[in-house]
């Protein structure tokens, strides 16, 4: 009992630096979801219509759906590597609350996948003929929306981490749950195009984010405990 307890700050500092190191050593894994994001957006003008009038109305939805799919794709790796080499078990049995560990992991994952996506979105918005004055709104919705997606998706990743066929299953069980975020994400931009004040819409998205931050780590933690129980 005499061993000194590791403080919350030290252990989370170690966790954060470890997560960043692991992520930065696998640069290709960071790039793949971004390339996928761009590719999905490019498919729409090619597949549906390159008319600027069509693209303008469709742009918000296309960028958002692409962001949603790319987030789902990247989430598969969120816990998988840790599960495979046993780090996850160590995290689960560590004295620090699993709730916070999960929250830190998802937050870092968002910084490495969601944030680049957010920074890339103006380029795609211009290519999709979204009027320039609405691009900040698009970025704001992505800023509030993609972390929510990561948090909801984290539940799916935690539930399926012990399964070999994770990828498609995560999308299947999580995509229905992300519909509200998608609706409000595109709805905000459409409202902005119609000249309606968007503060209320953004506030709703912020509320979704807060709800996801408070509730989703509980479900993730329960799911992770289940996944390492075998």
């Amino acid at each position: 009992m005499s061993s000194p307890a590791v403080s919350l700050r030290t252990s989370f500092g170690a966790l954060i630096s470890r997560e960043l190191q692991c992520a930065l050593r696998k640069r290709q894994d960071l790039a793949n979801p971004l390339v996928f994001f761009v590719l999905v957006v490019v498919l729409f003008p090619l597949g549906v219509s390159p008319e600027p009038s069509f693209l303008e109305t469709a742009s918000s939805g296309v960028v958002w759906v692409a962001a949603l799919l790319s987030t789902m794709l990247s989430l598969d790796r969120l816990f998988r590597d840790d599960y495979e080499h046993g780090t996850l078990e160590q995290l689960v049995i560590s004295p620090q609350p699993l709730y916070l560990i999960v929250l830190v992991k998802i937050a870092l994952h968002w910084c490495l996948t969601g944030l680049p996506l957010l920074l890339l979105s103006p380029v795609l918005a211009v290519m999709m003929h979204l009027p320039a004055e609405h691009i900040p709104v698009l970025m704001l919705t992505l800023l509030l929306g993609t972390p929510t997606l990561s948090l909801i998706g984290g539940i799916g990743a935690a539930l399926t981490v012990s399964l070999r066929s994770g990828g498609v299953l995560v999308s299947l069980i999580i995509l229905p749950l992300t519909i509200p975020v998608l609706i409000f994400g595109t709805g905000t931009i459409l409202a902005s195009i119609d000249g309606i004040p968007v503060a209320g819409y953004l506030a709703t998205m912020g509320a979704f984010l807060m709800l996801a931050i408070t509730l989703s780590p509980f479900a993730c933690a329960a799911a992770l405990k289940m996944s390492v129980s075998s």
């Binding site: 399926t160 299947l172 229905p176 509200p180 289940m226 996944s227 129980s229 075998s230």
Partner: protein, 249 residues
């Protein structure tokens, strides 16, 4: 209050015996009530003054839709029991109920489409209600897919319970968002004709049908749960006894 009854429900053998006794009654009552309501609703209930005879599909559509939604709520209550008290029967309920719920959701969507064609002139409208039912169908599919993915029984029951609870927290948010989205994007392309206050001749068969469908649901559910019990308890003495008794007949 005496809780013995509740605790007994957690015992597979006791539940099996009880359900074996109750199941035929539910089946007979369900089929009888459904038959009565079908004949009553289709042949004797008065026509709708606006929709004519096409309204009669509500005798199938409304009960299936009610059941589809309440089935998920029952599953969520079971999931909580399964997570908190680790009762085996609660998990078996979820396993047994999910495909039935999905089937009823599909029926509700299908009958809705059949009704929509003569009334709205199209099979499918991105109406808020239709869309949220479609999402519900996907939630059922998700539960079933996750369930099937695990080999380990304990893990699969915990995973399913977590997913069902996450889903039920989301259902009100999805419902509200879809309602909001619909009013934003489609300002009344198709207006549902305001439902007239129904006379008793019209809603009584509906009520009978709802009760009948619930009885039928219970009967099917009990059969599925019995099968699940036999499968999981196949190594126990009492199940072997049943099998041997069947074999020696």
């Amino acid at each position: 209050m005496n809780w013995t009854f509740f605790h007994k429900l957690g015992s597979p053998k006791w539940f099996y015996d009880l359900s074996a006794r109750l199941q035929p009654w539910f089946l007979v009552t369900g089929v009888l009530l459904m038959a009565i309501a079908t004949v009553w609703g289709l042949a004797f209930a008065p026509q709708d003054y606006q929709q004519g005879n096409s309204f009669r599909i509500i005798y199938l559509h409304v009960p299936t839709a009610i059941l589809a939604q309440s089935c998920y709520m029952m599953m969520a209550a079971s999931a909580l029991v399964s997570l908190v008290w680790k009762m085996k029967m609660a998990d078996m309920f979820i396993v047994a109920a999910a495909p039935i719920g999905a089937a009823f959701t599909f029926l509700a969507l299908f009958t809705g489409a059949v009704w929509g064609k003569p009334t709205w002139g199209t099979w499918w409208v991105w109406d808020a209600r239709l869309t949220s039912m479609l999402v519900l169908l996907f939630l059922y599919f998700g539960v079933m897919a996750l369930r099937a993915a695990f080999d380990d029984l304990d893990m699969s029951s915990r995973a399913t319970a977590i997913l069902v609870i996450v889903g039920v927290v989301n259902i009100p948010i999805i419902k509200y968002s879809v309602d909001w989205w619909n009013t934003l994007h489609q300002p009344a392309t198709f207006t549902l004709t305001e439902k007239p206050a129904m006379p008793p001749e019209m809603w009584l068969p509906l009520l009978v049908m709802v009760i009948g469908i619930y009885c039928f649901f219970t009967a099917v559910l009990l059969v599925r749960m019995q099968t699940e019990i036999l499968r999981r308890e196949r190594r126990t003495k009492w199940v072997r006894g049943i099998v041997e008794a069947e074999a020696s007949k």
